[in-house]
Symmetry: C2
Subunit: 252 residues, 2 copies
DNA sequence: GTCTATACCCCGATAGAC
DNA sequence: GTCTATCGGGGTATAGAC
């Protein structure tokens, strides 16, 4: 009995995964606005009505895709950080017995690069998250937490630099309204950073996606050709904007 | 005869404008991906086939909307600059006989604010330009020039500061590949600025739209509440990033 | 849980009368 | 330049048999 239920649930989750996979390929062809349950069913050799046993509506399918994508891009951001326990993508750690800890700027640039790499590899899922909202679709509250995962990966780098006492607070006055906003945000997320740094982080977070969206959505066409180098340079300067400073050993 | 032709052409341009207006309202309801000639025709009380006398295809209508929108947002950027001959929106020019020339940072912030204000007032047209590309639509070459109009408004401010000799070059090394890209770009646009400034300008241009898109596409929901202040503060810091410096008289 | 069938909509684009 | 009619597709969602 439990074995049968196990088998049934395995089959169900496999079919659910197949539906989402096919939906992702259709996302690429037609865009999220035209994602159609019938087309997905056709491609899978099922009757369209059968899909409703897995996703009660088109919007539920979209929500599942959005949640998966937020987790995937968040995981990509975390995996790209050479300063976390995980092996990550390696980066350019110094060789030798005890590898030198990567600099905070390097970590920042790596995380940004990981986000961009995921976006370039999954442009339509990226667009689903950070492009034009799908008309008529209303995201449920459950999407807000995963949506912050990339931001948390960036915050981790800055938080570590702050804990190490090597964070340079951005100069200039901070409007009180902005300070109040970021204080509320930090309280909610259980973060302790100078308000000016947190304000810069929020702005920089948005600006990072501006760079990626411009590249992905074609605005850099005939404007920027060396995209990899340009992005690395731009994110390095963003790191400085949030108070990270390049250490002597860091690459230029 | 010429009078008749004049009347005919006036009628034609009025109908063309009506079609575009109705298409813009449908853009808001259903999004660009689902923009439908039939629905536009229905709303105007025409047969769908009659529209084909004005726009030979759905893509041509989209192109017209995109061109209009690029020109509108570009005009908004230019009009917001208090440093140009036009009266602009006034800004906070000092009262008195000869008004003090606005500072470059103030001009920069004003231009960014003008772009944002247009975007907030026309979110669906903004999304058409800077959101997810419409699936299956391929922009003709004619859209590239108007697409640069906002950028030119930003460049004008920095160029004036450079001409006045008050531009501070961003510190740090500039990768040669980036320098080559921006030199080619400056040659094409007939601009003379330090390469490091131009590189910062291109990145900042993208980042500005990152801020606007995050606000418009909902990423700042429950994150940033004082949007006006936040945006003004963020763009002020962007100005510093491209080498503009606040003068003593500038507001904090 | 899958199927067929169905109700009731939508679309782009074209043909040919007026 | 507008119309009706048409071709040949598309869609969401449900009902009811198996």
């Amino acid at each position: 009995m439990t074995a049968i239920r196990g088998a049934r649930e395995r089959a169900r989750s496999e079919i659910t995964a197949a539906i989402k996979d096919e939906a992702r390929t259709q996302l690429a062809a037609e865009g999220a606005a035209k994602l159609s349950l019938r087309a997905v069913a056709r491609a899978l050799g099922m009757a369209s009505s059968a899909l409703y046993r897995y996703f009660p509506s088109r919007d539920e399918l979209l929500t599942a895709l959005i949640l998966d994508a937020y987790h995937a891009i968040g995981a990509a951001a975390e995996a790209a950080d050479p300063g976390t326990a995980g092996v990550g993508t390696g980066g350019s750690a110094a060789p030798g017995g005890t590898a030198a800890a990567p600099g905070y700027v390097e970590r920042w640039v790596a995380v940004c690069g990981g986000v961009r790499a995921w976006a370039l590899a999954h442009p339509h899922e990226y667009a689903l998250l950070y492009g034009t909202p799908v008309p008529g679709y209303h995201a449920p509250q459950t999407t807000t937490a995963p949506a912050g995962r990339v931001a948390r990966a960036l915050i981790a780098v800055v938080g570590d630099a702050h804990a190490a006492g090597v964070l340079h607070e951005p100069p200039g006055p901070l409007p009180e309204e902005v300070a109040a906003d970021v204080r509320a945000l930090m309280a909610e997320l259980d973060i302790a950073l100078p308000a000016s740094v947190m304000a810069a982080l929020v702005a920089t977070w948005a600006q990072l996606f501006g760079l990626i969206s411009f590249e992905l959505f074609g605005q850099f066409h005939r404007v920027v050709e060396g995209r990899d180098t340009f992005f690395a340079h731009a994110t390095r300067r963003l790191a400085e904007g949030v108070g990270l400073v390049a250490e002597p050993g860091d690459a230029a």
